[in-house]
């Protein structure tokens, strides 16, 4: 007797897919939990953790934002190997504005985010017309070249970097600011990607000639997507400049490029929630593995390969599937 696996939506999912969900507390809870849970987690964690892990939480949020930024680009068909580019440009923008012109973080962070996004978009504009591989290549090498330029020309503080930035009001402010931004970006951009606008972006990834054929200028849309992703990344850099009160060559480090990709791939490429989830898993794990030193990055590399080849849907999708569907074995009729 041959059997095959069958996946069926859970009863509660079907019952709650219509307005009648309002009739039952259970069904409303089923719908609300995936949305409210992350909010609760993000807002309460800062209060529950000790100072060491609070710093880790900060990193988690930054990596999550960078991973979301990466995922937005990936959904539009651009694979970035250089999130560090956005991060670094944002960091230097806010650092320079604060150090040389004395602008306060209230100004430098927003301005650096937008300016950083703009600069990176303009820099990468020419590659948008080419095959995707060029985008990956260019995003990979530009931050590495920028590091060497800073080192060699000693601009913006050179190897020592700029220090003595204005700090943010308090540790709590830092944590809640980034958590708030993370939640807003996560839910906001998820909404955007689920809308018709997002459909155009995903269409560009899937079948760009079809989108051109609809009279849409795909390069303009790609540039928009790039700007959003760049601005998010630049925000992270600008934010961290004021947290560490320092900006220097390390902002272009490969780590900032790799970890977000690993988080997105492990968590679930193609959804922003998956990218966030991946960050929440990988960053604490990497902290726990701190003793292993450089071996951590080796592990990221291995993870990347294993997940992209063997489990491309990521952990988040797997959990999502389990939440919405159940599996059973059915007999195959002759």
């Amino acid at each position: 007797m041959k059997k095959r696996k069958e996946r069926i939506d859970r009863g509660i999912k079907v019952r709650s897919s219509d307005i009648f969900a309002l009739l039952s507390w259970r069904e409303m809870l089923y719908l609300a939990t995936p949305r409210i849970l992350p909010v609760i987690v993000c807002l309460s964690l800062p209060l529950l953790l000790d100072p060491y892990w609070q710093k880790v939480l900060l990193s988690v949020a930054v990596v999550a934002l960078l991973a979301i930024s990466w995922d937005i680009l990936a959904q539009t068909g651009m694979v970035s190997l250089g999130q560090a580019l956005f991060f670094g440009v944002g960091a230097y923008c806010s650092g320079v504005m604060n150090h040389y012109w004395g602008l306060s973080p209230v100004l430098t962070i927003p301005i650096a985010s937008l300016l950083g996004g703009l600069i990176c978009t303009l820099m990468l504009l020419p590659v948008l017309r080419l095959r995707g591989i060029y985008f990956s290549m260019v995003t990979l090498i530009i931050p590495l070249i920028l590091v060497r330029i800073v080192e060699a020309t000693k601009i913006f503080g050179g190897t020592e970097g700029l220090s003595g930035m204005t700090p943010l009001p308090s540790k709590w402010f830092e944590l809640y600011l980034i958590m708030a931004v993370l939640l807003v970006v996560l839910f906001g951009f998820r909404r955007m990607l689920d809308s018709d606008y997002g459909l155009v972006l995903k269409g560009i990834n899937d079948n760009d000639r079809s989108v051109i054929n609809a009279g849409i200028n795909i390069y303009w849309f790609k540039a928009q997507s790039l700007f959003f992703a760049g601005a998010i990344g630049a925000f992270c850099g600008a934010f961290m400049t004021h947290v560490y009160m320092f900006v220097g060559m390390p902002v272009f480090a490969l780590d900032y490029s790799i970890l977000p990709i690993a988080a997105a791939v492990v968590g679930g490429p193609g959804t922003l929630a998956g990218a966030t989830f991946g960050a929440f898993i990988l960053v604490p794990m990497s902290e726990a593995l701190r003793g292993f030193g450089g071996l951590r990055i080796v592990l990221y590399g291995v993870f990347l390969v294993v997940f992209i080849v063997a489990l491309p849907e990521g952990i988040f999708h797997y959990i999502q599937r389990k939440y919405h569907q159940f599996e059973r074995w059915v007999e195959v009729d002759k």
Binding site: L81, R129, I133, V298, I308, V309
Partner: protein, 290 residues
């Protein structure tokens, strides 16, 4: 000084070309962008070092083993990893990138860094050419690079197998209809590129020392040359190597050594603005890929 700078510029060109040609070949034949290229380079270097200094294997044998090991590793990586994600650009890039990362950081972790980690020069002699000192190793690089690249050029333009490779690169579907197995060709291309990386390491590493950082440097230089010259074009590698090689050397001599990287970046940005697919790039722009 002009002559000396020109001479060193030529050598720089040869070094760049030697670094870039393996990556360019792999992409040119099968469209696989092997981001683990830098890792292959360093892997071969450490391999030869280990065989010479730890296992005391004779030089030529060690070289042979290293090249074959690289070739084999390239094939294995294709068969076990890339094959499963072939065609999905996102996954291909991430997979090769992840492998390269893992290998390079592994060597970083082992901490095999230092002056003793280097490969021997071929002959410890210098010559005076046109009033400048040039050591034998650099001359060897110049000669080997020229021979290799002219050989590859001749191969891909004048032999039937080479032309077949170019045909496959240009139109995979038609090639498939001729019964050519594209996976087999792709395996060959990755292996071939990896083998060339091993040879490049053999010639270039003696100028300095081995370090995992070299892997990233080689990857950057290879990518830069390929972007400027155009992916898939041997002529492009030659032209771009000349441009970047001369620009870097002359900037270094006449302007200042910290400007060389800026020149490279400027060259890349310039090419991207004027002719994004590279000087000799045959990458059709989006519209033509119907």
């Amino acid at each position: 000084m002009l002559v000396g700078t020109t001479l060193y510029a030529l050598i720089n060109t040869a070094i760049l070309a030697l670094m870039a040609i393996g990556f360019n070949l792999t992409f040119g034949i099968s469209g696989v962008a092997n981001f683990a290229y830098g890792a292959f380079y360093v892997f071969a270097a450490y391999g030869i070092w280990g065989m010479l200094n730890l296992l005391h294997i004779p030089y030529l044998l060690a070289v042979l083993i290293a090249v074959l090991a690289n070739v084999l590793m390239g094939a294995l990586i294709y068969r076990f990893v890339l094959l499963r994600v072939r065609g999905q650009a996102l996954s291909e890039v991430i997979a090769t990138f992840g492998i390269g990362l893992a290998i390079l950081e592994l060597f970083s972790y082992f901490g095999w860094v230092g002056f003793e980690y280097t490969l021997p020069v071929f002959m410890d002699r210098s010559f005076i050419i046109a009033g400048t000192y040039v050591d034998f190793q650099r001359l060897a690089i110049l000669v080997f690079s020229t021979v290799l690249i002219s050989g590859l050029w001749w191969f891909t333009h004048h032999t039937s197998i080479g032309l077949a490779f170019r045909g496959i690169a240009q139109d995979e579907r038609t090639a498939l209809t001729f019964g050519i197995d594209s996976d087999w060709i792709a395996t060959l291309s990755v292996s071939f590129g990896a083998g060339v990386a091993a040879l490049a390491a053999l010639f270039i590493i003696p100028l300095g020392s081995i370090a995992p950082g070299e892997g990233y440097d080689v990857l950057i230089k290879a990518l830069a040359v390929c972007i400027i010259g155009g992916l898939g074009s041997t002529g492009g590698v030659i032209a771009a190597s000349f441009i970047v090689g001369f620009a870097e050397r002359f900037t270094d001599t006449y302007i200042g050594s910290h400007w060389t990287m800026i020149v490279s970046l400027a060259a890349i940005l310039l090419v991207l603005t004027i002719k994004p697919s590279g000087l000799f790039g045959k990458q059709k722009e989006l519209e033509e890929r119907i």
